[in-house]
């Protein structure tokens, strides 16, 4: 249809005016929305750039969201690790071999400290961030460790650490001599292990200053050694028996020849004959070995038991002594979930290459991922828990010399252990790995913030409008339109009709 135009009104003016009107509306829309066009068609040549920038921006935002979550987790983990370190430090300071502060309820103050440290440590391992447990590898939905009560005392037919410890103590002590038999036959004193097994003392070559005595190195299976007197030794000469203990430490038992028989002081009497001397040596040695068994071996046994119970890395079940009877046990056996408490409930598959960090990874940038998985049964955590548990469970209630000796052995041993000995994964190492992940995350975040800013800038250049430019255009258009209206109106009025 043709336009029904007023008489004498040129059609080109109408189309010009409608065109200008449309431009005016578009410009005011641009001013209102800040966008150059309502569809990509209107963007012109910048279109594919705009689309690709938007894609990139969305990818960046994806990473930023991911980073926000990861950063929160890392921060909370760092705090947890810091806290753990302070628990360890404080406990270590409180362990004092020279102070035996037995309280009325049969435990020492240091034991109470160990219990509270362990409870706190376990609580920290159960820490969660927004419902996600951090210390269970990929098993993030469940608390990764059992309660203190279950771990120590067992639960519904499952043996706890106290029981495992006791069984191990029985196995290590045997009849009270640390699985050694000491006997004399004529001028020959013999020290022998009572079988081939991992328990008790293990004989090492002894040092001897005894004259007229032949000391053999341990040999045979089970190993045994002997001291043969060809004549009498002299007073003041000594025999030092070196014994390996189950936790890898070593102790010595020293007996000295003298004029009196005083086992408590380690003296054996030079007898009338070499045969008597051998018998006296055996009596004193037995007594000293028995004391070492009650103190140092018991401490070492506890540490070993804690290793058996707590060290479950790479899916290994807790180890316990095969028995009963335990005192004559010759082997360890794996605990099962029905008879032993598995203190760690998290993911326990073979560890990813390196460390459990690889369990949990998050992409924070193209080709940049941070690893921050952790398992409560990693050495850094288990090692400290073991020290707490050993101190907490020691039976010092007797308060006698043996109890004091045990306390001393334990305090020295555990204090040393808590100081992160070499060759053990330390809390600091874990802390450092997490801190590195944190740094990588922060750096990625910074990169993303920068590139998002740049991309947004580009996008607003491509999609958006310059308010000043649009305002100027609007003004110019307005002037044009007003002029056109004016001119059209003049043209319209200028008709011959008006002059007839």
């Amino acid at each position: 249809m043709n336009i029904n135009r007023p008489i004498g009104y040129p059609s080109s003016v109408i189309s010009q005016l409608t065109g200008m009107r449309r431009d005016m509306e578009d410009l005011s829309r641009q001013l209102g929305t800040g966008l150059k066009a309502t569809s990509y068609g209107g963007l012109g040549a910048g279109r594919s750039l705009a689309i690709s920038f938007r894609s990139k921006l969305e990818t960046t935002q994806t990473y930023q969201q991911s980073i926000d979550v990861v950063a929160l987790r890392l921060k909370s983990t760092t705090q947890t690790l810091t806290h753990m370190q302070s628990v360890v430090d404080e406990t270590r300071k409180s362990f004092d071999p020279n102070r035996f502060d037995l309280l009325a309820d049969g435990v020492t103050g240091q034991q109470k400290t160990a219990v509270s440290a362990m409870v706190e440590f376990l609580g920290l391992l159960d820490s969660e961030v927004a419902g996600r447990y951090s210390f269970g590898g990929r098993e993030t939905n469940e608390a990764p460790v059992e309660s203190y009560e279950h771990i120590m005392n067992g639960d519904a037919g499952r043996a706890g650490f106290r029981q495992i410890l006791d069984e191990r103590r029985q196995a290590d002590l045997g009849t009270g001599t640390g699985r050694l038999t000491v006997g004399a036959a004529g001028p020959v004193a013999t020290i022998a292990e009572d079988g081939t097994h991992p328990f008790g003392f293990k004989l090492q070559p002894a040092q001897s200053t005894l004259s007229n005595a032949t000391v053999t190195a341990p040999s045979g299976s089970p190993p045994s050694m002997s001291v043969t007197f060809s004549a009498q030794p002299k007073a003041g000469e000594s025999l030092t028996v070196t014994l390996d203990m189950p936790d890898g430490t070593r102790t010595t038992v020293k007996v000295v020849a003298g004029d009196t028989q005083d086992p408590a002081k380690g003296l054996f009497q030079i007898g009338a004959t070499p045969d008597d001397t051998a018998a006296n040596l055996v009596a004193t040695l037995s007594d000293r070995i028995g004391f070492a068994a009650e103190t140092e071996l018991t401490a070492a046994s506890a540490v070993a038991a804690s290793g058996n119970f707590f060290d479950t890395r790479n899916g290994q079940p807790p180890q316990r002594v095969a028995g009963p009877p335990f005192a004559s046990a010759t082997a360890m056996t794996a605990g099962t979930t029905t008879d032993t408490v598995f203190w760690y409930k998290g993911e326990n598959t073979a560890m990813p290459t390196g460390s459990p960090r690889g369990d949990v990874q998050a992409m924070v940038d193209t080709n940049v991922s941070v690893s921050y998985g952790m398992r409560a049964n990693e050495e850094a955590f288990t090692w400290n828990i073991r020290q707490f548990a050993v101190m907490a469970t020691a039976d010092l209630s007797a308060g006698d010399a043996a109890a004091k000796g045990l306390h001393q052995s334990l305090a020295i041993k555990l204090k040393g252990n808590l100081a992160s000995p070499e060759g053990k994964q330390s809390l600091t190492a874990v802390h450092m790995e997490i801190a590195l992940a944190q740094t990588a995350t922060e750096q990625a975040k910074e990169r993303h913030t920068q590139s998002a800013g740049t991309l947004k800038g580009y996008l607003s250049d491509l999609e958006g409008v310059d308010d000043n430019e649009v305002s100027v255009q609007l003004l110019a258009l307005q002037t044009n339109m007003q002029a056109t209206y004016q001119a059209s109106s003049m043209l319209f009025k200028m008709s011959l009709t008006n002059f007839l």
Binding site: M1, N2, N4, R5, P6, I7, G8, P10, S11, S12, S15, T33, G34, L35, K36, A37, T38, S39, Y40, G41, G42, L43, G44, R47, S48, I51, S52, R54, S55, E58, T59, Q61, T62, Y63, Q65, S66, V69, V70, G131, R132, G136, G137, R138, E139, T140, N141, E347, T349, D359, V360, Q361, A362, M363, L459, E463, G464, S495, L496, T497, L500
Partner: protein, 622 residues
């Protein structure tokens, strides 16, 4: 008797002046009537034996036939570009809006984000649900876009129907006006108003179909298409359109009646033989051509893009590469490939080196379950350079071996070492060819214990896997309208994390989310020419996200082109019409000037009569 001649001429002059005044009045009154052309009276002498004895006037239209033809030529293009621009703009707006995240591409990146979140927190219930809803959003968007595209096709189909009805009415109108002009002329009356009406009809007809019109010497207007089919001669032909009510993705235009899912325009049956105007490409421009193009090309391309995207998305998650094992027999080397797990539509790809030319060639063998699907067209794969062979698997491995052997020729030895394993060996010592690789891509169906990945999308809610089946109906056609998130995953979002039962997947295990994320981010699919984004002899290899971005960009470009073509055409049309108007439209000033002239002429004629009377009086009195 010179005085009486003067009197008769003066009387005739008065009559003519009156008629001219009448025409001026008519011109002024109807100046703004559409299609009205300014009229003028052309005056000729009535010649008697004694010379001019009177005047006769004929009404004529002020018209420039050349300009009128130009208007008629420009009009169809204007109609065409207007409709095309409208459709292109709607598609452009459907695919995405700048500054907004409301588009298919944004849905895909939002889904990527949710998978990334899931990868960071595989144990998070919210993260899982978010990922499922992200996938559902994509599926729903694809369904919605398909519905929109098909609704637009239905609209185009209806517009063609309406257009055909209007065209028929106009054709009948023109024929009727032809008759009326003839009878009016025969009775000596003024036919110009009828001619104006007829021109108006022709012009409207030209917005629909590209037509040309020619007025015969007897004043009859014949109308024919620029393709040469006469629409109005002695009588008017009528268009016929067998439109359908609703168009869906599978309905396409075809020359063959049985394969046609949408209507076609024919002339007939009054004209024999029936001419299919679409098949014979006789409608080249105008709104009808634009609607047909929108229905059969523009919107079909849009649907192809959506289907390709949906297919690529489904395959990104459910596609499993089946590796072959190297084997040898004497000097012959080749590969064993287990084809037992393939579904209809899954491809087996053989790459070999032709030692004669040094070229590396690809043969794609696609499993079909219906022999009637064979042979497959080369367009069955996106790769324009490969050889496509359909292999019917219904006859078992023995039949497969024979078919593959027949397809590959004597340079290869095809066999089976047993089971469902296909063995392809080269020609050994002859060394005409060397097999480079043999592989297949199967479709994963198990949601757990199958693979690290997951068949996240299915064909229809609760439907089967998407394998790209080519047997009728081809699965790809309209897949975007059916794609749905696997109901197993919707019912149990933990399947986004749990990928194996033994050992059970830990809740914080990101293996599957990472696999899904990496597949979505990195899986590259080859897109063929049917998507319009690439030229016929090439293909585009892109990620799902990349392709979605390309689609938006493509429609932006098409829309921009269409808009600018329309703008140019509008200017052209306006200019021609303005020039036509300068000749044909009523110029009121000119009419007024003529009125003054006529007034003077009337007075002059009257004066002549008066003088003649005075002269006669003088004669009588003398």
């Amino acid at each position: 008797m010179a005085i009486s001649t003067a009197i008769s001429i003066a009387v005739a002059g008065l009559g003519m002046t009156q008629r001219q005044t009448d025409i001026v009045a008519q011109n002024v009154a109807r100046a703004s009537q559409p299609g009205y052309t300014a009229k003028e009276l052309s005056i000729a002498d009535y010649v008697g034996r004694s010379g001019t004895i009177g005047l006769k006037g004929t009404v004529q239209r002020q018209i420039d036939v050349e300009l009128q033809r130009q208007v008629l030529q420009a009009t169809p293009t204007t109609g065409y570009s207007e409709v095309r621009a409208r459709f292109a703009q709607r598609l452009d707006e459907m695919m995405g809006i700048p500054g907004s995240s409301n588009s298919l591409a944004s849905d895909i990146s939002a889904f990527t984000t949710s998978l990334q979140e899931l990868s960071t927190s595989p144990d998070g219930v919210t993260a899982r649900i978010k990922a499922v809803s992200g996938a559902q959003k994509i599926a729903t968007r694809l369904n919605q876009l398909t519905a929109d595209v098909q609704a637009m096709r239905t609209e185009a189909e209806q517009a063609i129907g309406d257009g055909v009805a209007r065209v028929n009415e106009l054709l009948r109108n023109i024929a009727r006006l032809n008759d009326q002009v003839a009878s009016t002329k025969a009775s000596g009356q003024d036919p110009t108003s009828l001619e104006d009406a007829r021109d108006l009809s022709v012009k409207e007809l030209a917005t629909w179909v590209d037509v040309q019109a020619r007025e015969n010497s007897d004043g009859q207007m014949s109308v024919f298409t620029s393709g040469g089919v006469t629409l109005v001669g002695a009588t008017a032909v009528q268009f016929e359109f067998d439109g359908v009510g609703t168009v869906s993705a599978g309905d396409t235009w075809s020359e063959t009646y049985s394969e046609r899912g949408v209507g076609t325009i024919t002339i007939g049956p009054s004209v024999a033989p029936t001419v299919d105007l679409i098949a014979s490409k006789l409608i080249r421009s105008g709104k009808l051509a634009a609607y047909v193009e929108a229905r059969d090309q523009m919107l079909v391309t849009a649907q192809n893009q959506l289907d390709a995207l949906a297919g690529a998305l489904a395959d990104a998650f459910s596609g499993i590469d089946v590796a072959s094992t190297a084997t040898a027999s004497g000097a012959q080397t080749g590969f064993d490939l287990d084809v037992g797990g393939l579904a209809a539509g899954n491809p087996i790809k053989l790459v070999y080196k032709d030692n004669a030319t040094g070229e590396t060639k690809t043969v794609t063998m696609i499993k079909v379950d219906d022999a009637s699907t064979l042979p497959l067209p080369a367009s069955a794969t996106a790769d324009p350079d490969d050889v496509v062979v359909g292999i019917d698997f219904t006859g078992g491995i023995g039949s497969v071996v024979l078919q593959v052997q027949a397809a590959l020729g004597a340079n290869f030895t095809v066999g089976t070492p047993g089971g469902a394993t296909l063995q392809i060996l080269d020609d050994g010592a002859t060394n005409a060819v060397d097999i480079v690789s043999l592989g297949a891509r199967a479709t994963l169906t198990a949601t757990i214990d199958g693979d690290k990945s997951l068949p996240l999308f299915t064909d229809g809610t609760g439907g089967g896997p998407y394998t790209g089946r080519l047997d009728e109906p081809a699965q790809r056609t309209g897949f975007a309208g059916r794609i749905a998130v696997n109901t197993a995953v919707v019912d149990d979002p933990s399947l986004l994390v749990r990928w194996q039962t033994s050992p059970a997947t830990a809740p914080g295990d990101a293996t599957r989310p990472n696999e899904l994320l990496s597949r979505l981010r990195n899986a590259r699919t080859e897109y063929g020419a049917e998507t319009g984004i690439v030229t016929p002899s090439t293909s585009l290899t892109a990620t799902v996200q990349g392709f979605a971005d390309s689609v938006i960009s493509y429609w932006g470009m098409v829309s921009e082109d269409a808009q600018s073509a329309k703008a140019t055409q509008d200017v052209l049309q306006n200019n021609i019409e303005a020039r036509f108007g300068e000749v044909s439209a009523v110029n009121v000033d000119a009419e007024m000037a003529r009125l003054i002239q006529l007034q003077t002429a009337y007075s002059a004629n009257a004066r002549i009569l008066q003088v003649a009377r005075e002269m006669l009086d003088s004669l009588m009195r003398s």
